[in-house]
């Protein structure tokens, strides 16, 4: 286990893409201390901002308010990153494996364009969770993101595969231009959910205000719901699927694209 404690709050955002399990597993304590971070445009050593304990491990634990530390766990493919405090932007961006757990809030572009692995945020997350970067056609392509609190705008923008679970209320434009994958909204969302979606599934457990270009296409209990519920139960969250409890209103769209996406809204009996 490698423990990093923030000893000094950066004056401007600190870009720390070297703090990933893939990098640190090969480094001794001295090498970790000498690794390069970008403080604004200046290169600084890790030990200028962090107290470093441990070496040669793919389990990293970070302590402190890291809301101005960006690109943590970038492109990681193994190991664990545990953050006890808030995390900054681009946490776990483009990751392909491993696990990130944050006991605090996360910033924008959490898991942006990720391909695999698991992210769990115990607090809130910022905007563009699991989204595509500007100019990119495809966002998240695999893995799962669990956020216990609220999420910001454009959650799952252009995502193609994978799972996003929002425990709190989501903001506008959930699943914007979505191409596949699943988004589960436990507390619903603000307006324009599923705008311009091509494919994929958005499930909401409370009523949603939908775009006028979505069409109602029946109430049913999809067979995949109990398969998904089984998988979600293993990951620690529940999904109702039984006919005796209620059914899902299915809306399809977005006809502006025209797309074959679906929005399922749970209606308990």
């Amino acid at each position: 286990m490698i423990t990093l404690r923030l000893i000094q709050q950066p004056a401007v955002p600190l870009e720390a893409e070297c703090l990933t399990p893939d990098r640190l597993v090969e480094l001794t304590n001295d090498q970790i201390r000498a690794a390069v971070l970008y403080h604004g445009k200046r290169q600084v050593r890790v030990d200028e901002f962090f107290q470093v304990d441990g070496e040669l491990s793919d389990a990293i634990e970070l302590h402190g308010d890291l809301s101005r530390v960006r690109h943590l766990g970038r492109q990681m493919s193994r190991g664990t990153v545990t953050i006890r405090g808030d995390a900054g932007m681009h946490l776990g961006a483009q990751m392909s494996g491993g696990k990130i757990e944050v006991f605090g809030n996360a910033g924008d572009w959490l898991g942006g364009e990720m391909r695999g692995g698991r992210v769990h945020i115990h607090g809130r997350a910022g905007q563009q969770v699991g989204a595509a970067y500007r100019g990119s056609l495809v966002g998240m392509r695999g893995g799962s993101i669990f956020v216990d609190g609220a999420v910001g705008i454009e959650t799952g923008m252009r995502m193609k595969r994978g799972l996003i679970v929002a425990g709190g209320r989501a903001s506008d434009f959930v699943g914007l231009q979505m191409k596949g994958g699943t988004i589960l909204l436990r507390q619903g969302a603000e307006i324009r959910t599923g705008a311009w979606m091509q494919r994929g599934t958005i499930i909401s457990l409370v009523d949603l205000q939908l775009m006028p270009t979505f069409a109602y296409s029946g109430t049913y209990n999809p067979t995949f719901a109990n398969v998904l519920a089984g998988r979600l139960a293993k990951l620690g969250t529940e999904l109702p699927f039984d006919v005796s409890e209620g059914g899902y209103d299915r809306y399809c769209g977005d006809r502006a694209v025209p797309g074959k996406g679906e929005v399922l809204i749970w209606k308990p009996t």
């Binding site: 101005r68 434009f173 705008a195 006028p212 006809r255 025209p258």
Partner: protein, 280 residues
């Protein structure tokens, strides 16, 4: 309005459609006026995108936008029948809820209309040489705005590097303002940050930002006593010849002298003492 071979009757051969949340003075100049309910621009544009593709849209679905389905069907027919359509949009679209996605909806509609006929979309610019800033940034870096150079190469990410977001989050420890007045238009947290950090303003006048700034340098007004190139809204560069003489230096001269002064300091170039190995 100009008469031409294909539009011999000038204005009478052209159709102007005005979309706004209330009747403005421009209604008199327009042939058709569509009153959209506030905050429903994105919905209306998305419905239009569906309608140009002949997707079934019902009256009830259109009702929430405040425009009738007949009016929209007429609009779509006119748009498809036009030889050359142009859409203009302004702050009413880009600064209401949905922000950049409202503009994106209009731009996507214009792009998709090109499956039927020639269509363009153009933002209506506000004060100053905004288009010029966009154009220059675009050919220098490949991106129009929201660019960070801190790694030595341009990185584009609006929301992370755009001015208002950087200031609201307080990500900078110095601000350099040329020919703009963020102190008058930006949200309160951004203004507080401008007052907190050293802010340097280059402007011919004393602005709201100058009052927040640590340093204000009065410069010669561009186009009146300083030469240069301004870009018209449709990206046509117009050379400006000064009519008057000013005792103040131009923006260009001040910026160049600041750059020379910074270059003389040791901690400057990426290849030089900036790097870690040369710092330690």
């Amino acid at each position: 309005m100009q008469k031409s071979r294909f539009l011999p009757r000038g204005r009478k051969d052209r159709t102007m459609v005005l979309v706004d949340i209330r009747e403005t003075k421009s209604v008199k100049a327009a042939d058709i006026f569509l009153q959209v309910r506030p905050g429903k621009d994105f919905e209306l544009l998305t419905i239009l995108r569906a309608m140009i593709k002949d997707q079934p849209i019902s009256d009830a679905e259109v009702a929430e936008t405040g425009v009738s389905i007949e009016a929209l069907q007429d609009l779509v027919a006119r748009m498809k029948a036009a030889k050359f359509g142009a859409m203009f949009f302004g702050m009413g679209l880009s600064m209401t809820r949905g922000k950049h996605m409202n503009s994106a909806a209009l731009l996507t509609l214009a792009a998709e209309m090109n499956a039927f006929t020639k269509f363009v979309a153009m933002p209506m610019r506000g004060h100053g040489n905004v288009t010029g800033a966009d154009v220059i940034m675009r050919w220098q870096t490949g991106y129009p705005f929201g660019i960070s150079f801190n790694r030595g190469y341009p990185r584009y990410n609006p929301g992370e590097f755009s001015t208002v977001d950087v200031l609201v989050r307080g990500d900078t420890d110095c601000v350099f303002v040329i020919g703009a007045d963020p102190g008058a238009t930006m949200p309160q947290p951004a203004i507080d940050h401008l007052a907190r950090v050293p802010t340097i303003v280059l402007d011919p006048h004393v602005t709201h930002t100058s009052r927040l700034a640590k340093v204000h340098i009065t410069t010669a007004p561009a186009g009146i006593s300083a030469p240069g190139t301004a870009y018209r809204m449709d990206e046509i560069p117009l050379p400006l010849r000064p009519a008057l003489k000013s005792s103040y230096p131009t923006d260009e001269e001040v910026t160049r002298r600041i750059k020379e002064a910074i270059q003389a300091k040791p901690d400057w170039m990426v290849e030089g003492p900036q790097r870690l190995e040369t710092q330690v």
